[in-house]
Structures are given as C-alpha cells and as structure tokens.
C-alpha cells in the first residue's frame, strides 16, 4: 500500500530578483491579455507548465522526480545543499505547487520543516503548544487531550506558563519537537530536526521516531547526519541537482553518496593541479614515535612532516612555516631555503627542540616558494591539537606559551632603596 506517490514532479523557479514587478505594468499586461481573451499572468517565480522549459534564467529545483513510498516506511532524503531536498518537501507538504507532475498522499500529512514553526516569542509555552498544534493540523480537542504527554515529553513542565522568549533555544526546540512528535499524522516530514538538543533529548527523539515508525506511520526524513539516517531509515533517496541519483536501501545509497563526496573533496585539492608542487598531508612526530596531529608532550622535541607531490623539478626553493593560534595570532614562524626538489613525492620535515604551548588548537600554514614565486600555500587540515600535558606556566592565566618560570627573592644588603 502506497503512502506517497510522486510522478514526474518538477519545480521551476525564475532566477534573479522576483519582487521587482510593477503594479501598473502588470495591471496593463493583465488587462491586455484579458482583452485578447488570453490567460492573464502575474509575474510569478513559480511558473506554469506551458512556459518554455529551458530558458536560461530558469532554475529547475526539481526535474521529473518520480518515486513511491509504501505506508509505514521511513525514508531519508540526502543530497548536497541545493539538490532539491527542501523543494521536494515543500511540494509534499503543499506549501508550493509543482510546476508539473502530480504528487499523491494518502492520509494526513504533517511537516516540521523548521523547528519552532508557528511559535510566537511573546506567548507562553502552553499557548504555543496549542497554536503550533493547530497550525500543524490538530484539532483543539486533540491538543487538549495530548497536552500532558507533550509537556512530559519536553520535560519543560515548570516553564510551560513562561513566555517562550525567555526559553533557551534548546528548550524551544524540545517543545517544538514534542508537539510535532505527538501529531499522529499518517505521514510525517522531518527536516534537520534531529540536529539539535542535547544527547539525552536526541535519544529520546530517536526512540520516539522508532515508536512512530512501529505504529505504522510513514516518515520522510532529511538530515545531514548520515549516522542518524543509517539508524532510522530503511530506504534512502539521493538527490542531485533536482534529480534522483539513486533510491534504494539506505546502506547502499549512503555508501555511494559518501564515495562520491570523498572523490569530490580530493578532486578539489587536485584543482590546484597545474601547480608544480602541492602539499598533500602532514603529520606530527613527537620524540621517537607518534603519528597523529596531537601534541601530547609540549616539553620535548617534535617535528612536523609535510608530504609534497612534485610535478616538475624545482630549484632555489624556500619553505615558510607558520604556527598561529585560532585567532590567527602568529606564535612561531620560520623560513628555510633549500636547493632543489626532484619530481615525485617528497617529505619536508621541520624539527623543533620543544613546543611549549598551552593546550588548545593551533593553525599550521606552510608555503612553498621558488625564488619569490609562490608554488603552493596550504592551511593544514587537520589542525594541530596540543593536549593538556600538565606542563603549565606557574599560575598562568593568559598567554600562549607554557614555560617553567621561577621566582627568586633576595634581599640586597647594605643599602636602602628608599634613601
């Protein structure tokens, strides 16, 4: 039995400024069209099917998307920003009309496209529960009947008569989710709702969603958190540029999606090809061993090893190395010249007798120059982490360096400073 059936759904937007329409211009066109017996058209970014489909200023947010979802399934939607996920959800929740195609839903649908939908800051939690419940399609009697459950779930009992403007954002999210979680629609659309709240509330939400799934409801879920999607959904739709890339079992689709994103990340670094040398990676060596980016013992010798891919031999090279704190205040920098680099891979290692830094995250930057020409500049990813090693300046309250300091007090005899 199908809960959602989508056939060739497309949505086209007109690019550029949409509200530049002039009343008199539109009115004139409207009347002229009316006089000629044609269909009058307001300037509208959501177009109608009859208009030319491939004009350059049109953006196809969705193009001929078709799929079926069975009742009781939990299906996830993934895709990069702008892939059309939100547009699809907007169509399904009837916020906008499709340009073409047809979507069919069986039963009541409720969507939580953004947390706190319909919440008003001036109203109390109680008023907001009623308001947002009815906005999402509940009857007053239904909200009243579930009110205690909703409040219990949110854990905000003692704040329920306080205006929502005094709530923290976490509290608001809990209340909003609690209302949505008690909607009991046949179809529930969730968008990025899971990305908020503390760990305990997260788990509570996920339990609740499992519970809803087990009640035979259909859930459509959008999240950037792939681990949640793996836990919650059986099947996944992968959208790219308004079209479905793949729709199948969650594990298969997510693996394919992740594989593609990794390729894209690497190829972005490879965009810099054409350069004669490119920094690839770095690692930290502490004392004799160590192969992480965490500096555990700031007091002893360490070295930074940079892997470099050299496409064409270089000569008269210089390596600039800079270490700075997250506010980009430079802590240490060095420049080393060297004569040449052979084609192939090379490791450049900078060694320091010690790196007495306070615990925290630090930014590493390396720059390779040939004479005065910049070959590659890399802000290292990941950052350098300095662990809490117990090495601190005595009574330090500020500063970047962790140095042992000592105070000596000696009286200078024979002479008085005040005379």
């Amino acid at each position: 039995m199908l809960a959602i059936s989508v056939e060739n759904a497309s949505k086209v937007y007109r690019l550029g400024e949409i509200n530049r329409s002039q009343f008199f211009g539109d009115a004139k066109r409207f009347l002229r069209a009316l006089a000629r017996g044609e269909r009058a058209q307001l300037s509208d970014p959501g177009l109608e099917a009859s208009e030319t489909p491939d004009a350059p200023d049109l953006f196809w947010a969705l193009r001929d998307v078709s799929f079926d979802i069975r009742a009781g399934e939990t299906v996830a939607l993934i895709g990069r920003n702008g892939a059309g996920k939100s547009t699809l959800l907007k169509l399904l929740s009837r916020i906008t009309a499709p340009t073409r195609g047809c979507l069919r839903l069986k039963g009541r649908i409720a969507s939580l496209l953004e947390v706190g939908t319909g919440f008003h800051f001036e109203l109390t939690g109680r008023d907001n529960v009623y308001l947002s419940g009815t906005i999402m399609g509940m009857k007053r009697a239904e909200v009243r009947q579930k009110f205690d459950q909703i409040v219990d779930f949110s854990g905000l009992g003692q704040f329920i008569d306080t205006p929502v403007k005094r709530y923290s954002s976490g509290m608001m999210v809990r209340l909003a989710f609690s209302v949505a979680a008690h909607l009991e629609p046949e179809i529930l659309i969730l968008d990025e709702v899971l990305a908020v709240g503390d760990q305990q509330f997260h788990n509570q939400c996920i339990d609740r969603i499992h519970q809803i799934v087990n009640q035979g409801r259909t859930i459509l879920l959008v999240s950037h958190s792939l681990s949640y999607i793996r836990r919650l959904s059986n099947r996944t739709i992968w959208l790219r540029k308004g079209e479905i890339v793949e729709f199948g079992p969650t594990d298969r689709v997510i693996n394919a999606y992740e594989a593609e994103s990794t390729v894209m990340r690497q190829s972005r670094r490879r965009d810099e090809e054409g350069k004669r040398a490119v920094f690839r990676s770095w690692r930290l060596q502490e004392g004799a061993s160590g192969e992480s980016n965490t500096l555990a013992r700031p007091g002893i010798a360490c070295s930074f090893e940079f892997r470099l891919d050299v496409a064409g031999a270089l000569s008269g090279c210089r390596l600039e190395f800079c270490l700075s704190d997250p506010d980009e205040i430079s802590v240490f920098s060095a420049t080393h010249g060297f004569s040449e680099l052979q084609t192939g891979a090379a490791n450049l290692t900078i060694s320091l007798p010690s790196l007495p830094l306070q615990p925290g995250r630090y930014r590493l930057e390396v720059k390779l120059l040939q004479r005065h020409e910049e070959i590659d500049h890399w802000i290292c990813d990941p950052m350098l982490v300095v662990a809490d090693s117990g090495l601190h300046s005595a009574g330090a309250t500020a500063g970047l360096l962790a140095l042992d300091s000592r105070l000596d007090v000696a009286s200078v005899s024979g002479r008085s400073l005040h005379s």
């Binding site: 269909r39 509208d44 047809c102």
Partner: protein
C-alpha cells in the same frame, strides 16, 4: 485500500476554482488560535488593556461631537451628535480594522506561510477575530451611551447584527484583495492607510448624510459605505426613514467585493510561498 477521499492530490495551479469550504472548516480551530494570538499580543503588555479598546472610538466621538456638533452646529437629525458619530465609528472601525489588519496578514506571517500548509484564507479571516472583539466592546459602550442619552429603543435594533455582519463581509472582501495583492506589490501597504483616510472623509462617519446637498445625494449613495453607516444609525437610533437605494448599493457592493476578493485570492494563493 483506503477510500479515494483520503488522498490528497498536489498538482500545478488550476485556472480558477472556489474555496474548499470543507477543508477550511476542518481548520476552524486554527482560526480560533490565530485570532487568540492576535488579541493576546495586542493587549499583552499593555497595563490598561481593554480601556484602550473603549477609548479608541470614544475619544474621537467626543472630539467630533464638540467640534462639529457644538461649534460648527452640523445637522444631526435631532440626535446627540456624539451618538451620531459613535454609531458611524462602529461599522467604520470594523471596515478600517479588518482592511488594515487583514490586509498585511499574509506578508506579516510570511514565515508561517513558507513553512506550513493550511488554507491561506485562514490568515486574513483569523485577523478579523481581534476586530470582532473590538467591535463587541464598542457595542457595549454604545449601549451605555444609549442609556445615558435616554434613546428610546425601537424594533429597528433587531437589524443591528445584520449591518454588523454586512460590515464584516465588506471588510473581508476588500481584505482578500488587498492582502493577496500586497504579497506581490508591497505598494499596497502604503496605499491602504491613505485610501482608507479618503474613504473615511467621503463616508458619513463623523457627519450625517443630511450634510450633503440634496442634488448630490444620488452620487453619494453610490459609496457603498453610505448605506452601511446610515443603515446602522437607523437601526440604533431609529429616526430618519431608510433610503433603500443606499442599502441596495451596500448589499450589492459587499457581495461583489466578496466575490472578486475570493477570485483574486484563489488565483494567487498557491504562489504565496514562492513570493512572500
């Protein structure tokens, strides 16, 4: 299989269609809570609350009574001038309130429209709730004034609700046009207060139709509010006989405005979320 009636079909915009009343009535609780929200927000952090609702028509009524009634000695059909003005202000405030509040309702609630679905007409309709509350309070004040001025009750008073409903229908008709066009052209939010002011001056709100020279009355009666205001006055004060042309104009105009308003609203409502 579930029966066909449970299936929602979402398709491209149709050319013309009427409101789905069944759906709208399924959302009537939402009308209640949105109206409640508006009312709560209007008076939530005011310390005098209801006093403001009473003062709103009372203060202008007193001012106009002194200026026009006592100083300018404008005709008032033998009634206390203050009552004449107050009777004009009640239906006028319904019109004025619904047009100015419902007219911006869609734009003001853009965040809701772009995130949740409900029949869009719920939005302008629910704003009428706060206008309704204001009206109830004003009618209460009117009753007190009538006792104070010892106005004799006539059977005409039974027509009061009819004229009030008429005022709301006319207000709703204009609101539907203004609110939907306001989504497309924000000019309307600037034009409306201005237009309302002109409409106020050309309607017998703070003066009586008697002021208009006899030979121009026919033209004056074409203003749909003339019949509404004079009709309400007639129902409350029950003196001068009712001019039927005026009433017919009012009823016809209200129906027409409501029809055109519904058509315009229907035509553009599905595009709201893309534009607002």
């Amino acid at each position: 299989m579930i029966e066909e009636s449970l299936i929602t079909r979402i398709e491209p915009k149709k050319k013309m269609s009427f409101f789905e009343w069944k759906e709208i009535s399924a959302y009537r609780d939402l009308v209640y809570y949105l109206a409640l929200r508006d009312i709560q927000l209007r008076y939530k952090q005011t310390s005098l609350g209801i006093i403001w609702v009473i003062l709103q028509p009372l203060v202008p009524a007193v001012i106009f009574a002194v200026l026009f009634g006592n100083f300018a000695k404008l005709p008032s059909n033998g009634q206390p001038y203050m009552l004449l003005v107050f009777c004009g202000l009640i239906p006028w405030n319904i019109l004025n309130g619904s047009i100015s509040r419902a007219g911006i309702s869609l734009v003001a609630n853009a965040n809701l429209l772009s995130k949740v679905y409900f029949p869009r007409i719920i939005m302008p309709i629910s704003t009428l709730g706060s206008v309704f509350i204001d009206m109830l309070v004003s009618v209460g004040v009117l009753a007190v004034l009538m006792v104070f001025f010892q106005v004799p009750l006539t059977l005409n008073i039974l027509m009061v609700p009819v004229f009030l409903v008429l005022a709301f229908l006319m207000g709703l008709g204009v609101s539907l046009i203004v609110s939907s066009l306001n989504v497309y052209y924000r000019d309307f939010s600037l034009v409306v207060p201005f237009a309302l002011q002109i409409w106020n001056y050309t309607s017998p709100v703070v003066y009586s139709t008697e002021l208009i020279p006899e030979k121009w009355r026919w033209l004056y009666a074409l203003n749909p509010t003339t019949g509404l205001l004079e009709g309400f006055r007639w129902a409350v004060l029950g003196d001068a006989p009712l001019n039927t042309t005026m009433i017919i104009t009012t009823v016809v105009f209200s129906a027409l405005l409501l029809f055109i308003g519904s058509m315009v609203f229907r035509k553009v409502e599905r595009g709201f979320a893309d534009i607002v």
